[in-house]
Symmetry: D2
Subunit: 403 residues, 4 copies
């Protein structure tokens, strides 16, 4: 078979950009405009009241009553905060392999002077809980100080059940701290900081919270705070102790005020819909996307990267191209002809997969329009696929609506 | 058959509203934000320079070099301007029947003291040009002072070839003024004020120009200006003579400044894409919508209201429901479950049709998402229809992309 | 004395434009952003609920429980609505002379076929109520069908006590309708539609309501509605009877939806502050402006155009230049050097006066900054003036704050 | 003397907030709206082209041709970047004492494991260059690896001539790296990275660049890049080497896209005005503020904190209260009565000083309005002061305009 490649016209596509890239995400107009707020004194009482409301709302989304520290930083900054505040040079972490982002977090830990032990995993199936338990049980000396779990791996489209990691720690009686990266799961599917006894939850503004990139945060358990007081990695910008002495109990330096006007509005939207309804919507839209991709796959079409149904993510679907077909060509056609932005393959998956983000401010016609554009991009690039993908998504969504 | 009706949940749908209502239309973000301009003195040179640029651009879109008068008013205000400036009490107009809007314009004329003669038409086929010629030829005394043609009838989804009306006037040697309502056609499909010797073209901000409702305008030929000087209907707010003495040559009273910041941006977008490309895009998207509806129609499904392929509009498609099925139920499901707003039936078509607007800031995934939501709404309301409508649209769009 | 003229540099001034032009007015950021709303179906229930809230709020500001009709139009459109809906060809109006705008309304009435009788007035002192009473008393045949009063004359900076006009009608037992133009008074100082038995109140979006230009309105008494049913001037776009049959009871044609999102916010701001506090703020700022101008006047400086303290407007101050000095030069310096936009002289006052608007979204530092820029512009143009104008304003405002 | 304290009313002040707080700063409307941009793929070519333009513009403002690294972080993050990338545990820095922020940077260095030697200074006069030279000359072993200079100390309102620090290094033949914090000077008064051979310039988005808080950056000389390659402090989020391998040569993790749309607009504004004109405007406005405060000071009034005219900052003026009078009371009155936000005293200066920011998107009436509000706040709080402060500012600005 000769691969055929579409050459989109040079002119810009028109109409609204469909942003089906899993990060950052769609920002509702009302949130975007709320962020367009002129400067105010972040130490003024009016702003502080807004700020305190926002943090309270953020805790409801995290399902925690514990401390939350915020940073002017992207998600990687919150990762760094989770490490420098808790550990000392040479401490060992257990990283549960999930994909590109677990590798990144591990590399960061090493760069900061920590030792990293990895529980390896098939990226398409996700880590085996038995392997996690085994690694913990084997660590009789409790050299492992923290277990790092990426709740949703944005590169592969697999989620990792953090509550089962908690269970593994409990079953093995291991005292390590449990760190969860919720960057691409929070406010998209269920996360329960306190119920699951997560010690540090890492999150950012730019995914399920539907905000621009600009702040990230860590929720921190009392156990983690105790560890913090003993930890000796050098730190200042991300230092929780510094923050405790400030009025906002967060932020070394200037507070990114504009984002809190936006956060208030995004929390209002989330709570007006209801967190459970938000999760149900993400689940419903994710099922439709998967139904579409499964239809396309046929004998030799693009298929779900995730081969473990229990782990398929409700916020992002990674699609594996058939051999010999370039995911980037499909993405380019979708973007340049149809104004639909999908995510590319990260790291070793580059060119082999594309990713459809379905999180945040999203509804049925946005998903259908995205899938329609991708289906046309497959045709225009001569990528083999079974027909009827969008039809299958419509069927799935109709069933959901009837449900 | 028992009609089944969907009961959408009470909660608000999420994600972006798909505005597939033929009026007003989608506003690009950049236009919306450009309109969010604080107050300036509309007599200041800087604003006047912007204003003059806008009027020049508007003339390029109208394909005219003649005078354009603008009003703080909706399209109905520009209709009124076209009548009170040109005619005297008792003058006769020839109204070409197109649907709800030709009836409205006729009623306005009668209210203002004019006599209206109508060339009747089948709303689903459009007026016969032979009947137009016959009416003009029969008027040997030239009692008819103006011929009114709605270029695109937003209620039925039929366009009317204004250039053929011009030809009818020429062939019969009739001196009546030619008035064209371009409200839902301008900047969506081709209109040529000067080439077609249109005497008055009526347009508004809120359709193909992709702006909020707020100003409307009439482009006016020299012949019409001459008629204006003789016309005796009372007028002030819309009086062209008043306007000629003002710096902006338009607007009695305050100028709606904000919209001109928006118009500059919308003209930039239109000209960056190119007017011919704008028309090609509307044609391409309209074909896809019609392909979808034609597939749905099968034996007893919803069908195109327009039965005359040469007249089917490229900016709006009116869909006729099968007997016994309520268009409003379908619209309600689409809006309340899927956040897709379609237009309802106007006047005598109420409940029998719904309308899909496909004009302005629109692209392929927006159309596919809209059609998908409508197809699901048909299913959920038990409206018979052949399957595969969205598939047909995808096929049409893929063909267009290959073209 | 040789007039000296400042030549501002060609480059644009920086920082925020101070818009001290009495029309349109400053728009609060939150109102401007609320107006940046994408299109929705104006017949949808959600929008209609917002609309109904807005109209209810507007009635609270007008202090009326009667019908309010809205138009996509500027204030002149609402003027036209007030005339074509109430009167028949040849009907006589009594226009109370106030300045440029009473002349404009009178000319409109004549253009529409009405007869206009004027109660002449010294523009600097305002109409004498005795003269109004005399004119009414003299009209024993009750040929006068309506009395037109401009509540605040934006060109001269004088207000006209509408309640005294009501009293004059009552005292003379004259049945004429009372029409009040509240365009530049509403929501800036007190107006009481029902208590004063005003029959038609004309208002617009772009002054005290702090919105962009885009809609105007008339509140209408039952007595006026009765007159409307008998009135025979031709009308359609502004016809109240047409409107009564529509869902919004307003607007022939498309509703300017975006402005209602803004109106909701501006009403929220007004009611959060409290209407009485809004009036107190305007009075306080107006006193400061007048204190400044009175200080400047000295022997031969610029002075208050208004020579009747009881009539000086709380929303605009007109400043009369000393002979031989051009108001436009001062305005140009203020705008081009200091980014402060003031209003120019209208009609016969052109060049002789400039106008400082102090209405809408305004506070002390905005007034002080404006006055400071004007004082510097006087100096730079060699306009004689006593020093200490801004000091006087500061003194006035400090006294107000102490009060 | 009994201190009198104003009790502002509980209600919110109206009109626009005057943000005369030195950080963050006023954001022009056009910049704020440009930032309200929906999400795009930061790896898409269109965005990358915008980004590259922005970085090129940023280099023109910094007057450098060298590498610039950007971070999703506030200014403190860029401080941290400047330290972790250049130094190894135990390295010594020479911190030139300026005030609150030099203390903060020093503390950060210590927290990260560096040794800090301070050149002490009188905060009101600024560091003596002789002392700097002496410290460098005394370090014969070249133990000092970096000299840290805060170009503009936002807490005291003093600037520090970085070019003289460069000269001190040259004169003493000291090879230490020169680090300059330009956070509150850049784009307000002159800074010349390359001409002054600054090795690392630290800046942020939220001051002279007139953007929301959200990104900060370091410009880095080749000499500093060489030092970076040897430096051994642990780092990841701020690691330049990581960044060099990424397409944007900056940002570990997600790029804060929205701010680049804003930066493009703020650079356009800066370059339309011209950098030299920007500096001249800041100088002119600063002189007026100082003229006002000097007038107030009289015998026992508030006075300039800066007692060294050569060092008084053009971007912020710190005002020292007379003994027994609380700066916070004045600030509260200004904010709560007049909607003017000034900065409070930081650290040990708390309560003793307030700060007037005069940087960014600022003009004459904004300064006059601010000073007027402060003058009224002094009166209302019974703070002794000579009259005529605002008059003095007007005089200064008039002279500047005449110049």
């Amino acid at each position: 078979m000769t691969a055929q490649t579409d050459t989109p016209p040079a002119r810009k596509p028109r109409g609204r950009l469909f942003f089906a890239n899993p990060g950052p995400t769609n920002i509702p107009d009302s949130v975007l405009l709320a962020c367009a707020h002129n400067s105010v004194d972040f130490n003024d009482d009016d702003f502080f009241a807004l700020y305190a409301d926002c943090v309270a709302g953020l805790k409801r989304v995290l399902k925690t009553r514990q401390e939350v520290f915020l940073y002017t930083a992207s998600g990687h900054g919150a990762w760094e905060a989770s490490l420098v505040n808790l550990f000392s040079p040479g401490d060992r972490l257990l990283m549960l392999e999930t994909g590109y982002f677990s590798e990144g977090w591990a590399q960061m830990a090493r760069d900061l002077g920590l030792a990293v032990q990895t529980v390896a995993a098939d990226w398409r199936r996700g880590v085996e809980m038995a392997a996690v338990r085994a690694a913990l049980a084997a660590d009789r000396a409790h050299a492992i100080k923290g277990v790092c779990a990426v709740h949703n791996e944005t590169s592969t489209g697999l989620m990792l059940p953090v509550e089962e990691v908690r269970a593994a720690l409990d079953e093995t009686g291991h005292p390590a701290l449990l760190l969860a990266d919720t960057i691409s799961s929070l406010a998209s599917f269920d996360f329960r900081m306190d119920e699951w006894r997560v010690d540090v939850a890492v999150g950012g503004s730019q995914k399920g919270l539907m905000l621009p990139t600009g702040f990230s945060f860590t929720a921190v358990s009392e156990k983690a705070m105790a560890a913090h007081r003993e930890a000796r990695l050098p730190r200042h910008y991300f230092n929780w102790t510094n923050m405790l002495g400030r009025r906002h109990r967060s932020f070394v330096g200037t507070v990114p005020i504009a984002l809190f006007y936006g956060l208030k509005e995004s929390l209002r939207l989330i709570e007006e819909e209801g967190l459970d309804q938000v999760f149900a919507r993400h689940a419903r839209l994710a099922r439709a996307v998967r139904a579409c991709v499964q239809r396309w796959s046929g004998n030799d079409g693009p298929r779900l990267f995730c081969t473990n149904p229990a782990r398929c993510s409700d916020s992002v679907t990674t699609v594996l191209m058939p051999p010999g077909h370039d995911a980037e060509a499909v993405r380019r056609t979708a973007l340049q002809r149809f104004n639909v932005s999908t995510g590319g393959g990260l790291g070793r998956l580059g060119g082999q997969v594309f990713r459809i983000g379905h999180l945040g401010d999203l509804n049925e016609p946005m998903v259908i329009g995205t899938l329609g554009a991708v289906e046309m991009a497959l045709r225009l690039n001569g990528v083999p696929h079974a027909p009827g993908g969008v039809e299958a998504a419509l069927g799935s969504l109709t069933d959901s609506a009837r449900g």
